[in-house]
Amino acid sequence: MSKKTLKFLLLLLITVGLAWPYSFKTGDLPPIGKFFSPFEGFWQQAEKSDINLPRNIKFAELHDAAEVVYDDRLVPHIFASNDHDLYFLQGYVTASHRLFQMDLQTRAAGGRLSEIVGEKALKLDMEARRIGLKYGAEKAIDYVMKDSVLKVIVQSYSDGINAFINQLTYSSLPLEYKLLDFKPEAWAPIKTALLLKYMANTLTGYETDFEYTNAVKLLGYDTFISLFPEYPDTLLDPIIPKGTPFPTADDSILPKISFRPGEHDVAVTYPFEKPASEFGSNNWAVSGSRTASGKPILCNDPHLSLNLPSIWYEIQLHSPQSNVYGASLPGSPCVIIGFNDSIAWGTTNAAMDVKDWYNIEFKDSKKDEYLFDGKWKKTEKVIEEFIIRGSDPVYDTIIHTLHGPVAFDEKYNSGQETVNRALKWTAHEASKELMTFYLLNKADNYADYDEAMKFYQCPGQNFVFASAGGDIAMRQQGKFVHKAHEQGRFIMDGSIKETLWVGFIPDSANPQALNPEQGWLSSANQHPTDESYPYYYSGTYEYFRNRRINKRLSEIENAKIEDMMRLQNDNFNLYASEILPLMLEALNPNEIKSNELTPLNLLKQWIFFNDPEEKAPVYFEEWWKLLNESIWDEFKDQDRRLVMPGYFETIRYIKRFPDGVLIDDRRTPETESLKDLINLTFHNAIEKVDDWKKDHESLSWANYKSTSITHLTRLPAFSIKNIQNGGNKSIVNATSENKGPGWRMVVSPGDAGQAFGVYPGGQSGNPGSVYYDNFIDSWTKGSYYTLLLLKPHEQHQRILHITSCSP
């Protein structure tokens, strides 16, 4: 071989060798040639600042001509002449802005993340299948597709998404697909069901059966119940105003056994990711008798993880049957929280426990039979396949019992004892929550709202309502289990029939109120009722936001829209106001060091607002956190899963039992009194804040809390950090480190033009778009946009673009 041939071959080899990583994913690196090419790679997602939307689109699927009008915030207003076209276009337009998010969330729900990110997501995927998200979604979609109205909605929405997917080329693929190097698959109605089950899982995380079972064993029942009572003995300010009459319950059908933890309930770790219990929300409606305009005002701000793209997507849907505006969930048709020209509605989470765990006793290791009511009953086995990118598929056998899937067994138990626990959950039942939203979208009055509620099962929500006709209403709606005392509060024995659910609370008995005398109704994840409610329930409730909101609503007469906005952004720290004076009182003045004087003075002068620029909340929150940790050390240093008492119970415990046995920090040799701990944690807190100051520029609550809005892939590059916002969890403005009000809405239904909203994100999911994060500044400052409920062919100065759609 000549030298020249050799040289050629060598160069060719280098070229081909380079072409490999240029074309294929290597490790975490995307195919660099494909990805960097400005002709088709990521640069193609750089949108021009003057947006380039089509004037006309032809869709073979449309029945009639339709229009998509974009306003200056890129909110689509869809005008169609029938339901089919309306939801087809909702699917198309939503996918055009949020496809990756829709894909990712439904893959997460279906336990299919490993298909795109490989082995690292396998545990999460197995968990999704084991708790029955796919199982529940399959049941739900079968049921939904039997309904002639919903079938059209779900199918045409799905077709719209596919119309968008089908015209994609590599060049026009959303950025995340290029980065992770995969392609979107066709949408199907089951994905909508998966998304709704995913939300149900996020919102029914208020189940603490394992934790409470362990706590009873650790502390004894009496101590346990004093820390985790079903109803607190003071300061209860329930959703349904006290004195509202309730129907009587028929308790004769309930089992008469004790549900307290028994011998079989061994303490184990809990292998599942648990949805945070800080997910919550506020909503309220003020009747016209208490507003300046004489018309009712409705407000809602749901608190979820703060993500980009945002969980919410604004849209207006107009057809001869309905005309609605609000926040939708990408992946589901209809508006979820919104208003039309007659009514407005909003939701907060009902924190009722609807997830119960049963201990299962198998006959042998084959797990073909399990003990129930003295007999061996057959199990049903479902083999789940997990396709894993870059490796062989994995199979997992899920065993179903009459108590639901055995989500938890020795295979999924971090190598602990052989325990088998089945999960019974209302989200496993066939249901069609979508019907509720469809009916609310076109509701005209209270009767329509009442009708819409009937279809709603899980996750339980507090639906607030207000109408142009002047009605305000609130209803905790869901399929709630009719339980005996303490049933489902702890792990239950699955081998006896007395622990079975005997039925559900009838819809008519769900806590509800219409036009109460006080002139307003509010909910903030607190108890739905006081003790006079005849049905047993338990859950994890919030005790601060509701009291602050109700106090303000009782003070504000002649409420204006601005007052309501201010209340949604209210940073008053009620728990600080209830405990800080006691903490300051307990400080020993002789032990205050010179560098602690300034913080101490700040705390003494603080009027309890967690405003962004304040310094005092930094010292307080750090001090309070450390104090909680040292009082509840019993809950921390265990190999079993436990949950610490909430702030409310902690404050109550400190005030009632300053010498209680749990106060002492057992991690230290000395026995500390409450006073000792308060002093100790004060010094430690100041030290911690001083440490923070060493590598940060300026001390303020916003900087210290450092709220971030994280991209769904968790890539810092596409996330926004250090948002300058106040509040915290358990404050009306519930903006914590990574959770908070993901949509704020203030509407006066029937009062044209009086609708306002904002969310921390932007309509476009594309990090290369100016509409990716353009609402964040307004949201941070607590300001709002006017929401446009446009009429067909209306000329409006805020219209940015009109796309005509034809068959």
Partner: protein, 135 residues
């Protein structure tokens, strides 16, 4: 001429090779750019190879001609896109990589990535031609 050592390049040939360097960049870069507007990115490999093959007698710096041609092809297009986008995208994407957070740097990196594959493709095409070329 026949007795001249193969490695010897006459001053005339050297001047000619220099004169043709910039036109060669334009031929390879321009040709590959047109191809990439219609075909996938890897069409640049084939077009740079072919164009370097045909321009081999004119110039002796195929790698740098291919590199510069594709550096400009990718870099200039990325630059134009970035201007029209006010650097919204590039300022985010640059954070994905362990380089200083600068949009200009990301454009340069883009150009270099295009340049490297363009350079080797052109060098291969050129070397292929030279197997048979008498010099």
């Amino acid at each position: 001429m026949n007795n001249i050592n193969a490695s010897y390049i006459s001053p005339v040939a050297r001047r000619r090779a220099k004169r043709w360097f910039i036109p060669r960049i334009i031929i390879i870069g321009g040709g590959a750019t047109i191809a990439q507007f219609y075909l996938p990115w890897w069409s640049l490999i084939i077009s740079a190879f072919i164009l370097a093959f045909f321009t081999a007698p004119l110039n002796r710096s195929p790698f740098w001609a291919g590199f510069t041609g594709l550096f400009l092809s990718w870099g200039v297009l990325a630059f134009i896109i970035d201007i029209e986008n006010n650097s919204i995208l590039s300022s985010r994407v640059v954070k994905l990589f362990p380089i200083p957070e600068s949009s200009i740097l990301l454009i340069l990196v883009t150009g270099i990535i295009g340049g490297i594959i363009g350079g080797f493709s052109a060098a291969s095409g050129d070397a292929f031609r030279r197997i048979w070329m008498r010099e």
